[in-house]
């Protein structure tokens, strides 16, 4: 009885097209935003920020990017790790070459670089579809990781082969490097993610989003009604790669502090793919839910045995994690192939009718 739209009439198309047409949703979102921006930095401790919140934000961004490409535009991609690497290494090179340049601008520039790379690897998508395309994106994944591993120029010939985020500040606040406080890094990541989510939502509810979904559902028909296949597919690759590139940059500069190419290997690509499957393909909300789920689960699994009082060897734990993880994926696909986002929608439907069953 609380979650009903009675009395909420839309008097214009503008209000019907709004992101949150239901007033209760709007209030909820405002509340979440306040909590995220104001409450959490005050309340959360270092561990939670570093181990849970910041990585969840970073991966939400990557998941958003992949969802645009795979969930909305229907182009299956297993190259996410590689694209994230491009963003990270591009940021590293640009900021070490131009230290005075505002690091936020550098993040955006590296996103653009990644978009370019994404377009390049997206060109085959015109001829190759479905699983074949997924395997082609693997070419991107393996090649890019190899590139950043082998070509010393990318890591400024450091003997260890790793890149380290140099200290940078914005408006007098240190946000990268060892001095940067977790709260500062968290807020910057949050800001990026908020803007990115808004932009993504706007894109998908407009002409471009519809073109993507048309291509996903039936590309022949889409072409016949006038949607230019090549440009639309490439735009999906470009924008998706932009998001993944920035996510990669944030991963190194705001979360890990330093990394080698191992941080971007094929495992990451699969992780992000799982995030959008479990969260919900073709759903902005789903990207967040999936990212939160996959980020939290290992932590839960690692800590659960202790909570319950069983002690386990690390190896056993990893194996169990594998099994539970795989099992969960299968479970979700059977129960709700459209992911957590759909479950959420169903939940809202039930809430609407509460306390009536139907």
């Amino acid at each position: 009885m609380f979650y009903r739209e009675t009395g909420q009439f839309k008097a214009s198309y503008a209000s019907d097209e709004a992101i949150f047409p239901i007033a209760q949703d709007r209030w909820a979102v405002i509340a979440i935003v306040i909590v995220a921006y104001v409450v959490i930095p005050i309340v959360a401790n270092e561990y939670w920020l570093q181990a849970v919140l910041i990585p969840a934000l970073v991966f939400s961004l990557a998941a958003l990017g992949l969802n645009l490409l795979t969930g909305y535009a229907g182009q299956l991609s297993l190259g996410t790790g590689g694209f994230m690497a491009v963003g990270a290494y591009a940021t590293y090179k640009i900021t070490t070459a131009f230290p005075e340049l505002n690091i936020l601008v550098v993040f955006l520039l590296s996103g653009l670089v990644t978009a370019g790379v994404g377009v390049l690897f997206g060109i085959p998508s015109l001829r190759i579809k479905g699983f074949y395309l997924a395997v082609a994106t693997l070419a991107a994944q393996f090649f890019l990781v190899w590139l950043f591993n082998r070509v010393g120029w990318f890591y400024n010939y450091a003997p260890s082969g790793t890149i380290t985020a140099p200290p940078r500040e914005v408006f007098g606040v240190m946000i990268t490097g060892p001095e940067a406080k977790a709260e500062a890094r968290y807020l910057v990541a949050l800001a990026f993610v908020t803007v990115a989510a808004l932009a993504a939502k706007n894109l998908v509810r407009g002409r471009l989003g519809r073109s993507w979904m048309a291509i996903r559902d039936m590309d022949i028909a889409a072409e016949i009604i006038g949607i230019p296949l090549l440009q639309t597919k490439l735009s999906a690759f470009a924008i998706s790669s932009f998001y993944c590139g920035v996510a990669g940059a944030l991963m190194i500069f705001l979360w890990l502090g330093s990394a080698e190419t191992l941080a971007f290997d094929i495992g990451v690509s699969f992780d992000v793919l799982f995030m959008i499957i479990i969260g919900g393909l073709g759903s902005i909300l789903g990207s967040f839910l999936g990212a939160a789920f996959i980020t939290l689960m290992p932590i839960l699994l690692t800590n659960a045995p202790q909570v319950v009082g069983i002690s386990m060897a690390i190896d056993t734990q990893k194996d169990l994690e594998s099994i539970i993880f795989g099992g969960l994926i299968i479970f979700f696909l059977i129960v709700e192939p459209h992911g957590l986002a759909r479950l959420w929608q169903i939940g809202k439907e039930k809430l609407r009718r509460w306390p009536f069953p139907y």
Binding site: L76, P124, R127, I128, K129, G130, F131, Y132, V135, A136, L138, A139, F142, F143, V145, W146, R150, V151, I220, A221, I224, I266, F270, L273, F274, I277, D315, T316, K318, D319, L320, E321, S322, I323, F325, G326, G327, L328, I329, I330, L333, I334, P337
Partner: protein, 311 residues
């Protein structure tokens, strides 16, 4: 100018200079290719007969090999261990059909693909949990002796693997083309619901196919395991099989072989002759690039079915 020379001229001169070595590289590549084909065969079987792209094939190879080695380590004689391993893989097929395939009947391909990724995780975790995760040696009595033929170094083991693959392929090809079950399998691959409506027992077909794929995985596992030890990285071989499938087409048994050979040779030759130019270890990505470029010109692979767009 220098670069052009070293890319387009020098490697070929090298090949011509030492033809025997070149032949060795090619043969080595062919034999590696055969091993890839073995894994790819499993994919093709399942895809051809159930329309599912089985990402778990690599995990199945690992699991089969682990089971075999695990049994042998516990003192079970080779022959019995083999039979038990086959039994285990058949049981696995039953489980997969019941738990994963049946609930997902007629879902979109991508959902099934994701489900097989889930299966892969479960198999890997489970296999290592039960049998342990350290590298194991596998010895099934195949001699690993090198000998020379006309100045070229050959390995008995590799030849044995090639012969096994050849026999396996021949058997499978006959099975698909000539038998009733083979035809039923092809119908199922085309359209689950249609196949059901003409009375083809989906359940039985799937169990048969996944069992056969399991046995193929076992053979592949034995070959790879004997060569480089049974360990986790075995499941990554599956990733290598993907470019093989792209080249050969997902639905073709001969394509898996030819694709495997091309990838095997291409990889080796590229690594030896062009690798040093750009820092080595191109094997990581060369196969994929090759396949991707090839696909741009021929999207269905060498032998795959022509994708006809219909409106």
């Amino acid at each position: 100018m220098d670069i052009l020379y070293s890319v387009f001229v020098a490697p070929f001169l090298d090949m011509a200079d030492a033809p025997l070595f070149f032949a060795e590289v090619v043969i080595g590549g062919l034999l590696t290719g055969v091993m890839y084909s073995l894994v790819a065969l499993g994919f093709v079987l399942i895809f051809k007969a159930s329309g599912v792209f089985n990402f778990a094939q690599g995990a199945m190879v690992l699991f089969a090999a682990l089971t075999l080695v695990g049994l042998m380590e516990r003192g079970v004689p080779v022959a019995i261990a083999l039979v038990m391993a086959v039994a285990v893989m058949t049981a696995l097929a039953f489980v997969i059909e019941r738990v994963v395939l049946r609930p997902l009947v007629n879902q979109e391909d991508i959902i099934l693909f994701m489900a097989t990724i889930g299966i892969a995780f479960v198999l890997e975790g489970f296999g290592e949990l039960v049998w342990g995760s350290n590298v194991k040696e596998l010895n099934v009595g195949i001699p690993d002796v090198s000998f020379e033929v006309g100045g070229i170094l050959l390995n008995e083991f590799d030849l044995f693997a090639a012969a096994t693959a050849a026999i396996l392929v021949a058997v499978l090809a006959v099975f698909f083309q000539r038998t009733t079950i083979g035809r039923a399998l092809r119908a199922v691959a085309d359209d689950h619901q249609a196949a059901l409506s003409v009375g083809i027992p989906l359940k039985t077909i799937w169990i048969i196919v996944w069992s056969v794929a399991g046995v193929v995985a076992l053979v592949a596992g034995i070959m790879w395991g004997a060569k480089s030890g049974v360990q986790f990285s075995l499941s990554l071989i599956a990733l290598k099989a993907l470019p093989v499938l792209m080249l050969g087409g997902f639905t073709s048994v001969p394509g898996a072989i030819v694709g495997g050979l091309i990838i095997g040779v291409g990889e080796k030759v590229a690594e030896i002759y062009w690798g040093p130019l750009i820092g080595g270890a191109i094997e990581n990505w060369f196969a994929y690039m090759l396949a991707m470029v090839f696909l741009v010109f021929r999207p269905q692979g060498l032998f795959g079915e022509r994708i006809i767009e219909r409106v």
